[in-house]
């Protein structure tokens, strides 16, 4: 019988353990999401993150070690972003027809996202470095990190805040949009993509294909606009 400590040390050397754990945690999250009848509060990302965070804590594993295994899953964000081209292509006639409403939704959604997060956080006395990490929180992670670096934020903190924003947006979107009586799938998807980037887009695809396509466009357009708005807003409102 081999020493369990030896086996554990073997497992911590390679990506196998944490890659498997990431997939299993996601499957549990996804099963819970289906089991609850696709309730938005049972968000698969949130459940998987909680399971994995607890596992890391129990096994005293640091995030670096975890990420060495999980980076293969993380890498797939790139190809998945490219894959958004297909629903966009399939919905192109509808997208062209909705150019003006999309422009309005983009300017308002993006502007409100950046300005309100800076003002509220300042109200709580949050300092400049964290404000700079918060300002691009509605854009997709790689873009947000690039923006935060340019305006004096912390890249890894930005990634965490972006994730919190996406998960919260994905959870709140359905009840919020129902309460506002927004019955247009295009508007529902687009506003969630602008405010809650890829995780909001993933949620939109779970609900409706049109909403998902418009969410993907909202996410892409907001990545460009926030790169322009965030530095300006931080200069004038960031104190």
């Amino acid at each position: 019988m081999s020493d369990p400590a030896m086996i554990w040390s073997y497992l911590t050397q390679g990506p196998l353990l944490w890659l498997t754990a990431t997939l299993v945690a996601y499957l549990i999250g996804d099963a819970a999401f289906r089991r609850t009848g696709r309730q938005s509060w049972a968000n698969p990302v949130l459940i998987a993150v909680l399971i994995l965070a607890a596992l890391l804590w129990v096994t005293r594993t640091d995030y670096q070690t975890y990420f060495e295994g999980a980076q293969f899953v993380h890498f797939m964000l790139g190809p998945a972003t490219v894959a958004l081209a297909l629903p966009l292509f399939d919905n192109l006639p509808r997208v062209k027809k909705a150019a003006l409403p999309m422009l309005a939704g983009l300017l308002v959604g993006s502007g409100v996202a950046v300005v309100s997060v800076i003002l509220i956080a300042r109200g709580f006395g949050i300092g400049h470095e964290v404000l700079a990490s918060l300002a691009p929180k509605s854009t997709t992670a790689p873009v947000a990190i690039g923006i935060a670096e340019r305006i004096g934020g912390r890249p890894t903190l930005t990634a965490a805040l972006v994730l919190l924003t996406g998960i919260f947006g994905a959870i709140i979107a359905t009840p919020l949009l129902n309460a506002l009586h927004i019955r247009d799938w295009r508007a529902r998807g687009f506003s969630v993509g602008v405010a809650a980037h890829g995780i909001g887009t993933a949620r939109a695809f779970q609900v409706n294909e049109t909403a998902g396509a418009f969410a993907g466009i909202g996410m892409g357009l907001n990545a460009v606009l926030t790169a322009i708005i965030a530095p300006l807003a931080l200069r004038f409102l960031g104190g």
């Binding site: 996804d30 975890y66 993380h74 992670a141 506003s191």
Partner: protein, 124 residues
């Protein structure tokens, strides 16, 4: 399937290289997305070839955010210190942005007459 995946990775690769070479404000995968839409317009058969793989990827888009999400554990100290402010700022700002964005979209859609057909609307 491998062929389709190679094509998708190829678009990402070209996107990354051109984003860096031309100093574009867009990240590589978004440039790849734009290029792929343009090529699908020129050759619709390309879209049919890729569709099974892209549908598979997008059905599990949530999975790909999990590793970055676990990164929150590395910032527990700050979340404990400034947690309330950060949570209120993120939650408040996200609610305002989704609500304002959706209302701006539907208002302009009504004004310009580009409303969605009735049968495509959710029951709320």
């Amino acid at each position: 399937m491998i062929g389709a995946l190679a094509i998708i990775l190829g678009y990402q690769l070209v996107g990354e290289v051109s984003s860096r070479a031309l100093n574009l404000p867009l990240p590589g995968p978004v440039v790849g997305l734009c290029l792929l839409v343009a090529c699908c317009l020129a050759r619709p058969a390309l879209a049919d070839r890729l569709r099974p793989v892209t549908q598979g990827l997008l059905a599990h888009l949530s999975l790909f955010f999990v590793p970055a999400g676990v990164g929150i554990v590395a910032h527990m100290d700050l979340l404990r210190e400034e947690g309330l402010g950060l949570v209120v700022a993120i939650a408040g700002s996200t609610v305002l942005a989704i609500g304002a964005g959706a209302l701006a979209f539907t208002t302009v859609a009504r004004l310009t007459g580009s409303t969605a057909p009735e049968d495509e609307k959710p029951d709320v």
